[in-house]
Amino acid sequence: MTVHNIRVGESKRGDASDGTLAEAVGGRLSRVDGPAKITGAAKYAVEQQLEGLAYAVLVESTIASGKVRAIDTASAEASPGVLRVLTPDTIISLRTASDWLGTTPPDKPYCPLARDITFSGQHVAAVVAETFEQAVAAAALVNVSYDETPSIVDLSDGKAGDGIAIDAMTKEWGDAPAAFAAAPVRICAAYNTPREYQAPMEPHGLIARWEGDRLTVWEPSQWLDGMARTYAEWFEVPFENVRLVSPYIGGGFGSKALALSHGAVAASAAKMIGRPVKLVMTRPQTFTGYGGRAATRQTVTIGADRDGVIQSIVHRGVNETSIDGMWVEPLGSVTSIMYATPNFSSKQNVVRVNSVVPGAMRAPGENPSAFGIESAIDELAYEVGIDPLEIRLRNYAEQDPHAKKAWSTRQLREAFAAGAERFGWSRRSPKPRSMRDGNQLIGWGVAAGTYPVRRAYGEAVVRILADGSVEVESSSIDMGQGTYTILAQTAAETLGVPADDVVVKLGDSRFARAGVSGGSRLAGVMTGAVHKAATSALDQLVGLAISDPRSPFHALQANTLVVANGRIGSPRGDGPDVSIAELLKSVGRDRIEATGDTMPANSTAEDRYKNYTTIAMALPHTEGDYSRYSWCAHFIEVRVDEDFGTVRVSRVVSALDSGRLYNPKLAESQWKGGIIMGIGQALLEEGIMDRRHGRIVNNNLADYLVPTNADIPDIEVISVGIPDPHSSALGGKGVGELGIVGVAPAIANAVFHATGKRVRDLPITLEKLI
């Protein structure tokens, strides 16, 4: 019923302009889930139709800090259709679950409805009713009274203080302060990024259903096994008893990786009323139901010689976190590796404010980090009078300056060269305010970006069926990045069958386990696992063909056979030539099945559980002899109307190194999606707070401005990657997060070039320019 069968054959193949077969790994096969999405047939998690479904609606705190004094539920309970009103007093008790590192949780109860309020919008109660309208109406009747205490609105709040030092973030070598003091050229500036929100088009929500002590959750999820673990721990049932189903995900960008309190509320409600319960957040609720990107502040000081060669970088960063949760946005991540410097120091604090705990949003850490260092190096370029591109090459890091290891691959120089060439950078007039078109000032800016290669172990099942078709199963997911498609390509290529004959099934935690789809790791992990499973299925197939007495190849005494285009033959083409289906029939088998698992051979069941349900087993990107990152360079043109301060991005050329691309069509789409999100970050996106009540005011898509089509210029992306054998089995590096990193500083740098105004505080809105 909920299993997802995606057949490649339903869509046109896609083009193969570069000569690669569209279906092969590296080919431009069109998205195989395209037809389902385009016809509206693709069923998203909360669109399941279940018998007896009840609807839950959340009641949220209207204060940012204090205590719930009382909740009067009488009129809500009397309201038509109401089945139950949940409050901290009436909801069933849950256990605290472990975090995503798998850290053993404190042995205490967990209540997803709050008595102690630490941010505005916190869930305090929920109403469950027969229909959605009834639940909405009754939720409005729940009367909550509070004892309010002063709140810390955000980092700029006088009460915020300096925060907590996070020693694990400290990175130092040489004597950075002394080298800075001695440097002939010194720049020092503060860079700020605001709260930003993932704003996926599909709001968060779920349907939870209990059957005895078995729980099924239909929920958009970037990590089925991780979320299943959390639900299992909350409700103290075995992990195997929880099934997560998430065939399609309407965008996540980091926000759908973890089970969140609204999920606990819905699953509790379902248990309490003995019926399936659906809970979907309203768009405004999505702004406080989970954390967006934390607001950040950084100071970057660079000491350099007069030729712009960096002698020292001193970096201090702060990000906000919530009152009782901990989120560290690693602000020194790009600062410490982008440029060669003999002396370096980076430290970071986090500051508690009355907000929901911030979360992962496309390239957490690297994104704001790059805004700091890539703006600062631009400032240095003007200070010493060197072209912004040239200064980056002059300080090029030939190895990882922090880990002191060789790069696995770093095509950044190539990216600069390809991007500059295509953009026409050499025609840039160096002085700010020197390029103009009518009322508009024109500016050209450049910035680099990077994202580490995150690696983990994966598992997949590959099945060759009686009719010769192939099934791939994994509990990994596709939220648009193209997992369905590249896994079909991988299985097809490895097995030698047409991609049309491959069905990929994802998004059900009953399938082979999978880790998180986050940190741009999934493609590398899963292609490796499918490749391994398919290889082993192929070995079985060929083994049968050679050794089974009933096989037409038996007499051939061959030691190997080739499978191509779904047919089996001898390498020299001199023997029989039969289809896979015919072979299976002749040997009396109705299927061949193989599980591929890239875990080390001696792994225990516990290791496996840990690998798929936590991120504790992820392999460090600097493990072994190499440091592994993907890289990019963005060249951006802006046009600024000085009378009104309006900025438009008019041209983008980006050259990116994601290693080998499994499917360039999908990768380019990911990169471009990242780049436009970067344009939004640079010019539009910012959570605006009502300082009196400590709540976000622009909690909707009319006021939280994400880019529209008209904000987006022509974007050209160029792949400069080469296969990187140290990063993944098939040579790819991360794709999804890379594109956004460096876009905002490239735009800020272009705005400076256009106007002579340096905006260090995102977003670059009209009033900052006039």
């Binding site: 395209g34 438009r648 008019s650 999606g673 622009n698 880019p707 529209t708 089509n709 008209a710 009209l766």
Partner: protein, 493 residues
């Protein structure tokens, strides 16, 4: 007057089927009905406020030009407003046997979808466009997609798909084209000239038979909520959970949807949508064209009316300032009584307009600028498209032969509690030579005309400065000292 027939159900067509509903809440939205009652879940909900376009469907209605299909936001479109219409959802699209519809195939091949959540909405917007224009220009595509947000793809692939649609199939073979005659006949048959009344007590809706019937209904129900395009009222319901019963739907009333010019004055009925007004207005008063292109997105312009924009009385509504600058007059009607007033006097204070209980806006009359008169309007927003105004200025200037200012009318939005004229500035300009010096001097008067506020769209200081710069921009353009300021893809404002 002939006795009006009353019907207690609404009739419309959903995809291929006739629908008759006798139980309809006044605030029931088309989206909820499609997804919950009809289990048509291809149409998505991303915001429920008209902002994202995930809920885009087409609504066909009979008009003077025959059967016309327009994209609308199902999330803020009320079910009760669909009497006599043809609702088309993504599920209705079909290609030739065994094939996808051309719009859909183009979207697949050009990779116009990642997560897919926005996709059915884009498909419907593109479908609406393709039906009107087989080889749409970049500008037409841009307009058609203004009201659709995609957080994943970066749009470009969708734009390329839009250009390619016609290479995938012929419009004549399209299901809606093939059914056109039959649907027209079925919709004709639904037109029985009746008034619709559904519900009782706390949940009532009325669809008057025509404008005179509307006048009667409103006299009897002075407390009713008038709903025209529902692009404001829809949000009262989905966002603020306000009770709108009894609701009177006037979206497609005979006698209220005409636009006509007589003796240099364009009269626009209160039921005329932005889209319907566009061709006349952009032809006769060209500066209004680019402004209209930046009101909401296409879906909002297909539903929203100029009458509703005026009646709503918002200080950041985009049409009142230019219409005030043009010297527009407003006709209000109560029963059989009509009065016509200068538009600017309609706006009394924040949230307060010169409208009596039982009275409604019937039409607005807009004088076309005479030859030699210079008119311009500028809208400043953070985001270029689909964004609410931070400040908007409209200017109408008549110069005397000697180059002095013979007449000038300046009105702003976003600068005060109502759309408002800059009277002190006007006075400072009047009779003076139209020179930079005069303009510079007049700028001091802005402080007397406006004390703008700070909000999330802009600060008070920004608004004060931008308002002045708009006058300067108007001067520069009208005196020919700099290139004209154009609202095009690559401009900055």
């Amino acid at each position: 007057m002939a006795k009006i027939k009353i019907r207690n159900e609404i009739h419309f067509i959903l995809n291929g089927r006739d629908v008759v509903l006798s139980s309809v809440a006044p605030d029931a939205t088309l989206l909820d009905w499609l997804r919950l009652d009809r289990s048509l879940r291809g149409t998505k909900e991303g915001c429920a406020e008209g902002d994202c376009g995930a809920c885009t469907v087409l609504v066909g209605k009979l008009s003077a030009a025959g059967l016309v299909y327009e994209s609308v936001n199902a999330c803020i479109r009320f079910l009760g407003s669909l009497d006599g219409a043809h609702v088309v959802t993504v599920e209705h699209l079909r290609g030739q046997p065994g094939q996808l519809h051309p719009v859909q195939q183009a979207m697949v091949d050009f990779h116009g979808s990642q997560c897919g959540f926005c996709t059915p909405g884009f498909v419907m917007s593109l479908y609406g466009l393709w039906m009107r224009s087989l080889e749409p220009s970049d500008a037409a595509i841009e307009k058609a997609l203004q009201g659709n947000l995609c957080r994943c793809t970066g749009y470009e692939a969708i734009v390329r798909a839009a250009h390619a649609i016609s290479s995938y199939g012929k419009a004549a073979k399209d299901p809606l084209a093939a059914e056109r005659k039959a649907i027209t006949a079925r919709l004709e048959a639904l037109r029985d000239g009746a008034r619709v009344e559904i519900g009782s007590a706390e949940a009532r809706l009325i669809v008057p038979a025509n404008v005179d019937d509307f006048a009667n209904v409103l006299e009897q129900e002075p407390g009713a909520t008038i709903v025209a395009g529902s692009t404001d009222v829809g949000l009262w319901v989905t966002k603020h959970m306000r009770d709108i019963s009894p609701a009177v739907f006037i979206g497609n009333l005979d006698g209220l949807c005409t636009i006509a010019e007589d003796k240099g004055v364009i009269s626009i009925g209160a039921g005329v949508t932005y889209t319907e007004a566009f061709s006349t207005l952009s032809k006769r008063i060209p500066a209004l064209g680019p402004l209209f292109d930046r009101i909401g997105g296409e879906q909002v312009r297909n539903m929203g009316t100029i009458g509703g924009n005026i009646a709503n009385g918002s200080p950041i509504g985009d049409t009142p300032p230019p219409l005030i600058a043009l010297g527009a007059r407003l006709t209000l009607r109560k029963g059989k009584k009509r009065r016509t007033i200068p538009l600017e006097t309609f706006f009394i204070a924040y949230g307060k307009q010169d409208r009596q209980p039982g009275e409604f806006v019937e039409a607005v009359h807009v004088p076309v600028p005479a030859k030699g008169e210079k008119f311009a309007v500028y809208k400043i927003t953070k985001r270029r498209d689909e964004d609410i105004t931070a400040a908007l200025g409209a200017f109408l200037l008549t110069l005397a032969k000697d180059g002095t200012v013979a007449d000038v009318r300046i009105a702003y939005g976003g600068m005060a509690a109502t759309p408002k004229r800059a009277s002190f500035v006007e006075r400072a300009l009047l009779g003076k030579p139209w020179t930079e010096e005069t303009v510079e001097t007049a700028m001091a008067q802005y402080a007397r005309d406006f004390t703008p506020l700070t909000d999330m769209r802009a600060s008070a200081e920004y608004r004060a400065l931008a308002a002045k710069n708009l006058l300067l921009r108007f001067f520069v353009e009208t005196s020919g000292t700099r290139a004209p300021f154009q609202v095009s893809r690559n401009e900055a404002a």
